[in-house]
Amino acid sequence: MRVIYIALLSLILFSCKESPEQKTVESQPVKDTVAANKETSNFQPKDIVPITSNKKMVKIEAGEYHPFIGGDSDSVVAIKSFYMDETPVTNAEYLDFLRANPEWTKSNILRIYADSTYLQNWISDFVLPADASPDAPVTNVSWFAAKAYAQSVGKRLPTVDEWEYVGRASESVRDASDDPEYTKNVLDLYQHQRGKYKEPVKQGNPNYWGVYDMFGKIWEWTIDFNSVMLSGGDSQGRNSVNAGLYCGGAALTATDLRDYASFLRFAMRGSLKADYTVNNVGFRCVKNIN
């Protein structure tokens, strides 16, 4: 049984993305004449243009949960109530954003904000991928792009804690994390996730909160996706962050596999950088309740 899980994990990790070479250790000398000094500055950073979205959001009630990793193992995180998008943001919805914010199209996107596979299956700047539904989750979007989209609709990305809190709900219970059937179901969905990102959202049943597609189609960006792997104290840098990931793995085998699905998500998030774009990583937005 364990072997299957390990195989599954390596599949997921390897399918995500080959890590690009260590980033720009030495860059090309700056050859252009553009804005060599303050007087001739031509950089005009652009604001995100707001768009209207009628996407349905559902209310998530306040509560608390035990995070899988991060902080003390006994720690309980309190979650305030918030609104969450019913489904991941779709291709069609993302297109609306691009029309209002053409700097975020695949030909205009700034390289600091997304790697070269950004929206790679889109036929052109404003033409959706041929083989994916307009109502399928938008994928191959970076964290920066997801954040910009959220800003344009007056929302934000969820925190890891918020996402995980909602992810613990089954169809009937708000916290099903103790239910082996629930865990098995999630792991099954993960195992058959391949290619599902091209299919429309909202095909299955909603969970307890009325939220769809938390598992089985895509992985989702969270605002603090990369901050959870740090162990206590000041880290010596990214290497030890990654080591933290494997420590988490070791710790897991010492306990039980109940949280294995959470572990997979944490491992996935830990393998990402904010400019990565991956064909099965998308996002959904949340909003504070005021």
Partner: protein, 194 residues
């Protein structure tokens, strides 16, 4: 009248430059300005309370690191590393380098605290800059710098220790990770950009 004239000129300059950028688009990967941190539109507050954009730092080579003022463990060492770094850059070239601390605890790090931080490490002069913004902008910049951080408790943050060197046009040229390691390579990376 004068204003209109200036805005027209500005517009002209902007649009002509934009054209230039467009032409550069095809060789996507070499489009350096697209990788520039000066594209980032967030507003930052300095230790003297001045509001600036990152693009205002254009024209100098930047050595950037992320810290917070109440940090007791790694930040003092990072501050000493930055100071040591300045010493290792050739004297006659030092005028064109700025050393920038970015607060990862913006709520707590008021301009006064940022000023005290600089003062306590004797980081005097225009080349020493301390910036804070809001949480959102800080997270975005941290992700550009590939710095990870997490609040462990209200008074304690865990974070990566990275010094990033940026060209005069804001393009990442070099990154050094870890504390009190050899700064010679970092100094060389700075000199190379001058």
């Amino acid at each position: 009248m004068k204003n209109i004239f200036f805005s027209l000129v500005a517009l002209l300059i902007i649009s002509s430059c934009q054209e230039k950028q467009m032409q550069q688009q095809p060789e996507e990967q070499q489009n350096l300005s697209s990788q520039s941190i000066f594209n980032i539109n967030s507003t930052w507050e300095t230790a003297t309370g001045e509001k600036i954009k990152l693009a205002d730092l254009q024209g100098d080579v930047l050595a950037v690191t992320m810290v917070y003022t109440s940090c007791k463990v790694s930040c003092p060492r990072l501050a000493f590393d930055m100071k040591e770094l300045e010493k290792q850059v050739e004297k006659e070239k030092r005028g064109n380098v700025k050393y920038v601390f970015i607060s990862i605890d913006p709520e707590n790090d008021t301009p006064e605290k940022m000023q005290n931080f600089l003062r306590s490490y004797k980081l005097n002069g225009d080349q020493w800059i301390f910036l804070r913004s809001n949480e959102d902008n800080t997270r975005e910049l941290a992700n550009v710098l590939t710095v990870r951080y997490k609040e462990l408790s209200p008074m304690e943050l865990s974070h990566s220790n990275i010094i990033s060197v940026f060209s005069k046009n804001g393009v990442l040229a070099y990154q050094k990770e870890g504390l009190s390691t050899d700064l010679n390579e970092t100094a060389k990376a700075i000199e190379k950009q001058l």
